[in-house]
Point group: C2
Chain length 228, copies 2
DNA sequence: TACTGTGAAGCTATTCACAGCG
DNA sequence: CGCTGTGAATAGCTTCACAGTA
Protein backbone atom coordinates (compact mmCIF):
# COMPACT_ATOMS: atom_id res chain seq x y z
CA UNK A 1 0.00 0.00 0.00
CA UNK A 2 1.49 3.30 -1.12
CA UNK A 3 -0.13 6.31 0.48
CA UNK A 4 0.92 8.97 -1.98
CA UNK A 5 1.92 11.96 0.14
CA UNK A 6 2.51 14.29 -2.80
CA UNK A 7 -0.34 16.63 -1.90
CA UNK A 8 -0.73 16.25 1.86
CA UNK A 9 2.25 17.46 3.83
CA UNK A 10 3.52 14.92 6.29
CA UNK A 11 4.11 16.27 9.80
CA UNK A 12 6.85 14.35 11.64
CA UNK A 13 5.73 12.32 14.65
CA UNK A 14 8.23 14.09 16.88
CA UNK A 15 6.66 17.40 15.94
CA UNK A 16 3.10 16.16 16.52
CA UNK A 17 4.11 15.00 19.99
CA UNK A 18 5.18 18.55 20.85
CA UNK A 19 2.20 20.40 19.44
CA UNK A 20 0.12 19.87 22.61
CA UNK A 21 2.88 21.52 24.63
CA UNK A 22 2.93 24.50 22.31
CA UNK A 23 -0.84 24.74 22.47
CA UNK A 24 -0.81 24.77 26.24
CA UNK A 25 1.93 27.39 26.32
CA UNK A 26 -0.08 29.56 23.94
CA UNK A 27 -3.24 29.12 26.01
CA UNK A 28 -1.37 30.19 29.13
CA UNK A 29 0.03 33.24 27.36
CA UNK A 30 -3.40 34.17 26.00
CA UNK A 31 -4.85 34.01 29.53
CA UNK A 32 -2.11 36.36 30.68
CA UNK A 33 -3.13 38.77 27.94
CA UNK A 34 -0.07 38.29 25.75
CA UNK A 35 -0.95 38.99 22.11
CA UNK A 36 2.31 38.20 20.35
CA UNK A 37 5.42 36.09 21.06
CA UNK A 38 8.78 35.40 19.49
CA UNK A 39 9.98 31.84 18.99
CA UNK A 40 12.49 32.50 21.75
CA UNK A 41 9.80 33.44 24.29
CA UNK A 42 7.34 30.72 23.30
CA UNK A 43 10.15 28.19 23.30
CA UNK A 44 11.03 29.12 26.86
CA UNK A 45 7.45 28.66 28.04
CA UNK A 46 7.07 25.37 26.19
CA UNK A 47 10.49 24.04 27.17
CA UNK A 48 12.20 23.77 23.76
CA UNK A 49 14.86 25.69 21.87
CA UNK A 50 13.72 28.39 19.52
CA UNK A 51 15.14 26.74 16.39
CA UNK A 52 13.25 23.54 17.13
CA UNK A 53 10.04 25.45 17.71
CA UNK A 54 10.39 27.34 14.42
CA UNK A 55 11.14 24.16 12.53
CA UNK A 56 8.13 22.44 14.09
CA UNK A 57 5.79 25.33 13.28
CA UNK A 58 7.11 25.55 9.74
CA UNK A 59 5.55 22.14 9.11
CA UNK A 60 2.10 23.63 9.74
CA UNK A 61 2.62 26.60 7.44
CA UNK A 62 3.87 30.16 7.69
CA UNK A 63 1.99 31.63 10.59
CA UNK A 64 4.71 33.95 11.88
CA UNK A 65 5.69 37.47 10.90
CA UNK A 66 9.39 38.12 10.29
CA UNK A 67 10.82 40.70 12.60
CA UNK A 68 7.81 40.38 14.93
CA UNK A 69 6.86 36.85 15.98
CA UNK A 70 3.65 34.85 16.21
CA UNK A 71 0.18 36.08 17.05
CA UNK A 72 -0.85 34.03 20.08
CA UNK A 73 -4.57 33.53 19.43
CA UNK A 74 -4.13 32.78 15.77
CA UNK A 75 -1.34 30.28 16.26
CA UNK A 76 -3.28 28.53 19.02
CA UNK A 77 -6.22 28.18 16.69
CA UNK A 78 -4.11 26.79 13.87
CA UNK A 79 -2.53 24.19 16.16
CA UNK A 80 -5.95 23.23 17.53
CA UNK A 81 -7.20 22.75 14.01
CA UNK A 82 -4.19 20.68 13.02
CA UNK A 83 -4.67 18.47 16.09
CA UNK A 84 -8.34 18.07 15.25
CA UNK A 85 -9.56 19.67 18.47
CA UNK A 86 -12.13 21.92 16.85
CA UNK A 87 -14.67 19.14 17.21
CA UNK A 88 -15.28 17.23 20.44
CA UNK A 89 -14.30 13.59 20.30
CA UNK A 90 -16.34 11.09 22.31
CA UNK A 91 -14.18 9.11 24.76
CA UNK A 92 -15.03 5.90 26.62
CA UNK A 93 -13.17 4.77 29.73
CA UNK A 94 -13.04 1.04 30.43
CA UNK A 95 -12.03 -0.07 33.91
CA UNK A 96 -13.01 2.04 36.91
CA UNK A 97 -10.52 1.15 39.58
CA UNK A 98 -8.58 3.90 41.28
CA UNK A 99 -6.99 5.07 38.07
CA UNK A 100 -10.12 4.88 35.94
CA UNK A 101 -12.02 6.97 38.49
CA UNK A 102 -9.29 9.57 38.51
CA UNK A 103 -9.38 9.72 34.73
CA UNK A 104 -13.17 10.02 34.70
CA UNK A 105 -12.91 13.03 37.01
CA UNK A 106 -10.01 14.60 35.13
CA UNK A 107 -10.87 18.22 34.32
CA UNK A 108 -8.55 18.39 31.30
CA UNK A 109 -11.05 16.80 28.91
CA UNK A 110 -13.64 19.52 28.84
CA UNK A 111 -12.99 22.35 26.44
CA UNK A 112 -9.91 20.65 25.07
CA UNK A 113 -11.54 18.62 22.36
CA UNK A 114 -12.74 15.61 24.35
CA UNK A 115 -15.93 14.50 26.03
CA UNK A 116 -16.26 11.41 28.19
CA UNK A 117 -19.46 9.74 27.04
CA UNK A 118 -19.21 6.30 28.62
CA UNK A 119 -17.75 4.51 31.63
CA UNK A 120 -17.58 0.72 31.58
CA UNK A 121 -16.59 -1.85 34.16
CA UNK A 122 -16.85 -5.59 34.60
CA UNK A 123 -17.51 -5.61 38.33
CA UNK A 124 -21.20 -5.92 39.27
CA UNK A 125 -20.44 -3.83 42.37
CA UNK A 126 -19.27 -0.96 40.20
CA UNK A 127 -21.81 -1.13 37.37
CA UNK A 128 -24.67 1.25 38.13
CA UNK A 129 -22.58 3.48 40.39
CA UNK A 130 -22.42 7.17 39.60
CA UNK A 131 -18.89 8.43 38.95
CA UNK A 132 -18.11 11.99 37.90
CA UNK A 133 -21.77 12.50 37.09
CA UNK A 134 -22.11 9.43 34.90
CA UNK A 135 -23.60 5.99 35.47
CA UNK A 136 -21.15 3.15 34.96
CA UNK A 137 -22.27 0.68 32.31
CA UNK A 138 -21.47 -2.99 32.03
CA UNK A 139 -18.58 -4.06 29.88
CA UNK A 140 -20.95 -6.75 28.57
CA UNK A 141 -22.70 -3.99 26.64
CA UNK A 142 -19.45 -2.54 25.29
CA UNK A 143 -20.26 -2.95 21.61
CA UNK A 144 -23.70 -1.39 21.90
CA UNK A 145 -22.56 1.52 24.07
CA UNK A 146 -19.49 2.32 21.99
CA UNK A 147 -21.42 2.22 18.75
CA UNK A 148 -24.40 4.13 20.13
CA UNK A 149 -22.23 6.95 21.41
CA UNK A 150 -19.97 7.06 18.35
CA UNK A 151 -16.92 6.64 20.60
CA UNK A 152 -13.73 7.69 18.80
CA UNK A 153 -11.16 7.08 21.51
CA UNK A 154 -11.03 4.22 24.01
CA UNK A 155 -9.17 4.57 27.28
CA UNK A 156 -8.18 1.25 28.83
CA UNK A 157 -7.63 1.34 32.58
CA UNK A 158 -8.26 -2.33 33.34
CA UNK A 159 -5.81 -4.82 34.80
CA UNK A 160 -3.23 -6.05 32.29
CA UNK A 161 -4.90 -9.43 31.94
CA UNK A 162 -8.11 -7.90 30.56
CA UNK A 163 -6.59 -5.17 28.41
CA UNK A 164 -6.05 -7.08 25.17
CA UNK A 165 -9.57 -8.48 25.19
CA UNK A 166 -11.12 -5.06 25.76
CA UNK A 167 -8.90 -3.59 23.06
CA UNK A 168 -9.95 -6.23 20.54
CA UNK A 169 -13.61 -5.55 21.19
CA UNK A 170 -13.12 -1.77 20.86
CA UNK A 171 -11.27 -2.19 17.59
CA UNK A 172 -13.90 -4.63 16.31
CA UNK A 173 -16.61 -1.96 16.56
CA UNK A 174 -14.53 0.71 14.86
CA UNK A 175 -12.45 2.46 17.51
CA UNK A 176 -9.12 3.37 15.93
CA UNK A 177 -7.46 5.27 18.78
CA UNK A 178 -6.61 3.65 22.09
CA UNK A 179 -4.93 5.07 25.16
CA UNK A 180 -3.61 2.19 27.26
CA UNK A 181 -2.89 2.55 30.97
CA UNK A 182 -2.55 -1.18 31.55
CA UNK A 183 1.02 -2.36 31.92
CA UNK A 184 1.16 -4.52 28.81
CA UNK A 185 1.72 -4.37 25.08
CA UNK A 186 -1.42 -4.30 22.96
CA UNK A 187 -1.57 -5.89 19.51
CA UNK A 188 -3.73 -3.99 17.05
CA UNK A 189 -4.26 -4.19 13.30
CA UNK A 190 -2.70 -1.67 10.92
CA UNK A 191 -4.42 1.70 11.04
CA UNK A 192 -5.20 1.66 14.76
CA UNK A 193 -3.18 4.08 16.91
CA UNK A 194 -2.19 3.03 20.42
CA UNK A 195 -0.41 5.12 23.00
CA UNK A 196 0.74 3.70 26.31
CA UNK A 197 1.04 5.47 29.63
CA UNK A 198 2.75 3.51 32.35
CA UNK A 199 3.78 4.76 35.74
CA UNK A 200 6.21 1.93 36.47
CA UNK A 201 8.03 2.47 33.19
CA UNK A 202 8.53 6.16 33.90
CA UNK A 203 9.82 5.48 37.38
CA UNK A 204 12.22 2.86 36.10
CA UNK A 205 13.64 5.27 33.55
CA UNK A 206 14.17 7.78 36.34
CA UNK A 207 15.81 5.10 38.45
CA UNK A 208 18.26 4.44 35.65
CA UNK A 209 19.31 8.07 35.58
CA UNK A 210 19.78 8.06 39.34
CA UNK A 211 21.88 4.96 39.07
CA UNK A 212 23.98 6.34 36.23
CA UNK A 213 24.62 9.58 38.12
CA UNK A 214 25.75 7.71 41.19
CA UNK A 215 28.15 5.60 39.15
CA UNK A 216 29.45 8.60 37.24
CA UNK A 217 30.00 10.57 40.44
CA UNK A 218 31.95 7.70 41.97
CA UNK A 219 34.12 7.36 38.92
CA UNK A 220 34.88 11.05 38.33
CA UNK A 221 35.17 12.33 41.87
CA UNK A 222 35.19 9.52 44.43
CA UNK A 223 35.34 12.01 47.27
CA UNK A 224 33.00 14.60 45.88
CA UNK A 225 31.11 16.41 48.58
CA UNK A 226 28.36 18.97 48.41
CA UNK A 227 29.00 22.08 50.43
CA UNK A 228 26.03 23.39 52.40
CA UNK B 1 36.05 -6.17 21.82
CA UNK B 2 35.52 -3.77 24.71
CA UNK B 3 33.15 -5.99 26.65
CA UNK B 4 34.87 -5.07 29.86
CA UNK B 5 32.45 -4.05 32.60
CA UNK B 6 34.92 -1.49 33.93
CA UNK B 7 34.63 0.38 30.64
CA UNK B 8 31.82 2.90 30.98
CA UNK B 9 29.41 2.36 28.12
CA UNK B 10 26.89 4.98 27.24
CA UNK B 11 23.46 3.41 26.81
CA UNK B 12 21.26 5.37 24.35
CA UNK B 13 18.18 7.03 25.84
CA UNK B 14 15.93 5.26 23.36
CA UNK B 15 17.25 1.94 24.62
CA UNK B 16 16.82 2.87 28.29
CA UNK B 17 13.22 3.81 27.59
CA UNK B 18 12.55 0.28 26.32
CA UNK B 19 14.34 -1.67 29.06
CA UNK B 20 11.30 -1.54 31.37
CA UNK B 21 9.21 -3.16 28.63
CA UNK B 22 11.76 -5.94 28.20
CA UNK B 23 11.88 -6.43 31.93
CA UNK B 24 8.13 -6.79 32.16
CA UNK B 25 8.07 -9.20 29.25
CA UNK B 26 10.76 -11.31 30.92
CA UNK B 27 8.89 -11.27 34.23
CA UNK B 28 5.75 -12.48 32.48
CA UNK B 29 7.66 -15.26 30.76
CA UNK B 30 9.32 -16.29 34.01
CA UNK B 31 5.91 -16.55 35.69
CA UNK B 32 4.77 -18.79 32.87
CA UNK B 33 7.74 -21.02 33.51
CA UNK B 34 9.69 -20.15 30.36
CA UNK B 35 13.42 -20.57 30.96
CA UNK B 36 14.87 -19.42 27.66
CA UNK B 37 13.76 -17.17 24.78
CA UNK B 38 15.03 -16.11 21.39
CA UNK B 39 15.15 -12.44 20.44
CA UNK B 40 12.27 -13.14 18.06
CA UNK B 41 10.02 -14.49 20.84
CA UNK B 42 10.95 -11.88 23.42
CA UNK B 43 10.55 -9.16 20.82
CA UNK B 44 7.02 -10.35 20.09
CA UNK B 45 6.05 -10.23 23.76
CA UNK B 46 7.66 -6.81 24.26
CA UNK B 47 6.34 -5.35 21.03
CA UNK B 48 9.59 -4.68 19.13
CA UNK B 49 11.44 -6.24 16.21
CA UNK B 50 14.07 -8.80 17.00
CA UNK B 51 16.95 -6.80 15.50
CA UNK B 52 16.10 -3.80 17.66
CA UNK B 53 15.91 -5.98 20.75
CA UNK B 54 19.29 -7.54 20.07
CA UNK B 55 20.88 -4.16 19.44
CA UNK B 56 19.40 -2.81 22.66
CA UNK B 57 20.60 -5.76 24.71
CA UNK B 58 24.04 -5.59 23.14
CA UNK B 59 24.52 -2.26 24.90
CA UNK B 60 24.26 -4.02 28.25
CA UNK B 61 26.76 -6.74 27.35
CA UNK B 62 26.71 -10.21 25.86
CA UNK B 63 24.08 -12.06 27.84
CA UNK B 64 22.77 -14.27 25.04
CA UNK B 65 23.94 -17.62 23.74
CA UNK B 66 24.32 -17.96 19.97
CA UNK B 67 22.13 -20.64 18.53
CA UNK B 68 20.01 -20.75 21.70
CA UNK B 69 18.77 -17.40 22.95
CA UNK B 70 18.63 -15.64 26.31
CA UNK B 71 18.14 -17.16 29.72
CA UNK B 72 15.03 -15.46 31.09
CA UNK B 73 15.90 -15.17 34.78
CA UNK B 74 19.46 -14.08 34.17
CA UNK B 75 18.57 -11.44 31.61
CA UNK B 76 15.82 -10.07 33.84
CA UNK B 77 18.32 -9.74 36.65
CA UNK B 78 20.86 -7.96 34.45
CA UNK B 79 18.26 -5.46 33.23
CA UNK B 80 17.07 -4.87 36.81
CA UNK B 81 20.60 -4.18 37.85
CA UNK B 82 21.21 -1.81 34.94
CA UNK B 83 18.02 0.07 35.79
CA UNK B 84 19.09 0.30 39.41
CA UNK B 85 16.11 -1.67 40.71
CA UNK B 86 18.09 -3.98 42.96
CA UNK B 87 17.67 -1.47 45.75
CA UNK B 88 14.32 0.08 46.69
CA UNK B 89 14.09 3.78 46.01
CA UNK B 90 12.01 5.90 48.36
CA UNK B 91 9.26 7.82 46.55
CA UNK B 92 7.21 10.78 47.77
CA UNK B 93 3.89 11.78 46.21
CA UNK B 94 2.88 15.43 46.45
CA UNK B 95 -0.74 16.31 45.78
CA UNK B 96 -3.48 13.88 46.73
CA UNK B 97 -6.38 14.73 44.50
CA UNK B 98 -7.99 12.00 42.46
CA UNK B 99 -4.81 11.25 40.57
CA UNK B 100 -2.49 11.37 43.57
CA UNK B 101 -4.73 8.92 45.44
CA UNK B 102 -4.73 6.55 42.50
CA UNK B 103 -0.94 6.73 42.36
CA UNK B 104 -0.64 6.12 46.09
CA UNK B 105 -2.70 2.96 45.72
CA UNK B 106 -0.92 1.80 42.57
CA UNK B 107 0.24 -1.79 43.05
CA UNK B 108 3.10 -1.52 40.56
CA UNK B 109 5.52 0.07 43.03
CA UNK B 110 6.00 -2.83 45.35
CA UNK B 111 8.57 -5.38 44.31
CA UNK B 112 9.59 -3.31 41.33
CA UNK B 113 12.25 -1.19 42.97
CA UNK B 114 10.11 1.52 44.55
CA UNK B 115 8.56 2.21 47.92
CA UNK B 116 6.17 5.07 48.63
CA UNK B 117 7.40 6.57 51.88
CA UNK B 118 5.53 9.87 52.04
CA UNK B 119 2.29 11.51 50.91
CA UNK B 120 2.02 15.29 51.06
CA UNK B 121 -0.83 17.70 50.46
CA UNK B 122 -1.55 21.36 51.07
CA UNK B 123 -5.22 20.99 51.95
CA UNK B 124 -5.91 20.90 55.70
CA UNK B 125 -8.87 18.62 54.96
CA UNK B 126 -6.58 16.04 53.42
CA UNK B 127 -3.61 16.27 55.78
CA UNK B 128 -3.97 13.60 58.47
CA UNK B 129 -6.17 11.36 56.35
CA UNK B 130 -5.12 7.78 55.83
CA UNK B 131 -4.62 6.87 52.16
CA UNK B 132 -3.34 3.50 51.02
CA UNK B 133 -2.22 2.76 54.56
CA UNK B 134 -0.26 5.98 55.03
CA UNK B 135 -1.01 9.20 56.84
CA UNK B 136 -0.91 12.28 54.61
CA UNK B 137 1.61 14.87 55.79
CA UNK B 138 1.53 18.61 55.29
CA UNK B 139 3.40 20.09 52.36
CA UNK B 140 4.66 22.68 54.85
CA UNK B 141 6.91 19.97 56.25
CA UNK B 142 8.16 18.91 52.80
CA UNK B 143 11.84 19.58 53.43
CA UNK B 144 11.91 17.72 56.72
CA UNK B 145 9.90 14.73 55.47
CA UNK B 146 11.83 14.37 52.22
CA UNK B 147 15.18 14.62 53.96
CA UNK B 148 14.17 12.37 56.84
CA UNK B 149 12.96 9.62 54.52
CA UNK B 150 15.86 9.96 52.07
CA UNK B 151 13.40 10.43 49.22
CA UNK B 152 15.05 9.79 45.85
CA UNK B 153 12.12 10.37 43.51
CA UNK B 154 9.41 13.00 43.80
CA UNK B 155 6.04 12.51 42.12
CA UNK B 156 4.16 15.75 41.52
CA UNK B 157 0.38 15.38 41.20
CA UNK B 158 -0.60 18.91 42.17
CA UNK B 159 -2.44 21.46 40.03
CA UNK B 160 -0.21 23.10 37.42
CA UNK B 161 -0.01 26.36 39.36
CA UNK B 162 1.71 24.69 42.33
CA UNK B 163 3.96 22.30 40.45
CA UNK B 164 7.00 24.51 39.87
CA UNK B 165 7.10 25.61 43.50
CA UNK B 166 6.93 22.06 44.79
CA UNK B 167 9.57 20.99 42.29
CA UNK B 168 11.94 23.76 43.39
CA UNK B 169 11.59 22.72 47.01
CA UNK B 170 12.20 19.05 46.19
CA UNK B 171 15.29 19.91 44.19
CA UNK B 172 16.55 22.22 46.93
CA UNK B 173 16.69 19.33 49.39
CA UNK B 174 18.47 16.99 47.00
CA UNK B 175 15.83 15.20 44.93
CA UNK B 176 17.25 14.70 41.46
CA UNK B 177 14.45 12.70 39.83
CA UNK B 178 10.96 14.08 39.33
CA UNK B 179 7.90 12.54 37.75
CA UNK B 180 5.48 15.31 36.80
CA UNK B 181 1.77 14.70 36.27
CA UNK B 182 0.88 18.39 36.30
CA UNK B 183 0.17 19.81 32.86
CA UNK B 184 3.09 22.24 32.72
CA UNK B 185 6.79 22.42 31.93
CA UNK B 186 9.12 22.30 34.92
CA UNK B 187 12.42 24.17 34.98
CA UNK B 188 15.16 22.33 36.83
CA UNK B 189 18.91 22.80 37.13
CA UNK B 190 21.37 20.65 35.22
CA UNK B 191 21.63 17.16 36.63
CA UNK B 192 17.98 16.80 37.65
CA UNK B 193 15.91 14.39 35.56
CA UNK B 194 12.26 15.19 34.90
CA UNK B 195 9.74 13.04 33.12
CA UNK B 196 6.26 14.24 32.30
CA UNK B 197 3.06 12.23 32.05
CA UNK B 198 0.08 14.09 30.71
CA UNK B 199 -3.27 12.65 29.80
CA UNK B 200 -4.37 15.60 27.68
CA UNK B 201 -1.19 15.47 25.62
CA UNK B 202 -1.66 11.79 24.85
CA UNK B 203 -5.27 12.28 23.85
CA UNK B 204 -4.37 15.19 21.59
CA UNK B 205 -1.74 13.12 19.83
CA UNK B 206 -4.38 10.43 19.26
CA UNK B 207 -6.80 13.09 18.01
CA UNK B 208 -4.23 14.16 15.45
CA UNK B 209 -3.98 10.65 14.08
CA UNK B 210 -7.77 10.40 13.88
CA UNK B 211 -7.88 13.72 12.07
CA UNK B 212 -5.16 12.71 9.64
CA UNK B 213 -6.96 9.46 8.84
CA UNK B 214 -10.21 11.29 8.19
CA UNK B 215 -8.47 13.71 5.82
CA UNK B 216 -6.68 10.87 4.06
CA UNK B 217 -9.97 9.02 3.65
CA UNK B 218 -11.63 12.08 2.16
CA UNK B 219 -8.83 12.45 -0.29
CA UNK B 220 -9.03 8.84 -1.43
CA UNK B 221 -12.82 8.73 -1.46
CA UNK B 222 -14.08 12.28 -2.13
CA UNK B 223 -17.72 11.26 -2.28
CA UNK B 224 -17.79 10.75 1.46
CA UNK B 225 -20.12 13.28 3.01
CA UNK B 226 -20.88 14.28 6.57
CA UNK B 227 -24.53 14.79 7.44
CA UNK B 228 -25.25 18.16 9.08
C1' DT C 1 21.96 -25.89 12.45
C1' DA C 2 19.78 -21.72 14.73
C1' DC C 3 20.76 -18.20 16.92
C1' DT C 4 23.33 -13.81 18.65
C1' DG C 5 26.11 -9.67 18.08
C1' DT C 6 27.43 -6.04 15.05
C1' DG C 7 29.36 -3.18 11.16
C1' DA C 8 27.24 -0.64 7.61
C1' DA C 9 23.47 1.57 5.42
C1' DG C 10 19.37 4.15 5.63
C1' DC C 11 16.35 7.06 7.91
C1' DT C 12 14.67 10.57 11.23
C1' DA C 13 15.39 14.32 14.23
C1' DT C 14 18.00 18.21 15.97
C1' DT C 15 21.03 22.02 15.60
C1' DC C 16 23.38 25.49 13.09
C1' DA C 17 23.71 29.53 10.53
C1' DC C 18 22.08 32.69 7.51
C1' DA C 19 19.18 34.34 3.69
C1' DG C 20 15.01 36.91 3.29
C1' DC C 21 11.45 39.79 4.68
C1' DG C 22 8.53 42.99 7.34
C1' DC D 1 17.14 46.32 12.70
C1' DG D 2 14.90 41.79 14.55
C1' DC D 3 12.84 37.85 13.67
C1' DT D 4 11.09 33.97 10.85
C1' DG D 5 11.74 30.17 7.71
C1' DT D 6 14.89 26.90 5.86
C1' DG D 7 18.85 24.54 3.50
C1' DA D 8 22.90 22.29 5.18
C1' DA D 9 25.38 19.96 8.68
C1' DT D 10 25.23 17.00 12.47
C1' DA D 11 23.72 13.65 15.64
C1' DG D 12 20.94 9.84 16.84
C1' DC D 13 18.06 5.87 15.88
C1' DT D 14 16.48 1.85 13.26
C1' DT D 15 16.93 -1.69 9.94
C1' DC D 16 19.54 -4.77 7.21
C1' DA D 17 22.32 -8.52 6.40
C1' DC D 18 25.67 -11.56 7.59
C1' DA D 19 29.90 -13.07 10.02
C1' DG D 20 30.68 -15.76 13.95
C1' DT D 21 29.73 -19.14 17.37
C1' DA D 22 27.73 -22.56 20.76
Amino acid sequence: MTADPATRREIPDATVARLPDYLRALTDLAERGVASVSSEELGTVAGVRSAKLRKDLSHLGSYGVRGVGYEVEMLAHEISRELGLTQDRPVAIVGLGNLGRALAAYPGFVGRGFRVVALLDRDRQVVGQEIAGMIVGSVDDLEQIVTGNAVAIGVIATPAASAQGVCDRLVAVGVRSVLNFAPCVLSVPEGVAVRKVDLATELQILAFHEQRDVLAARECAPRLEVAP
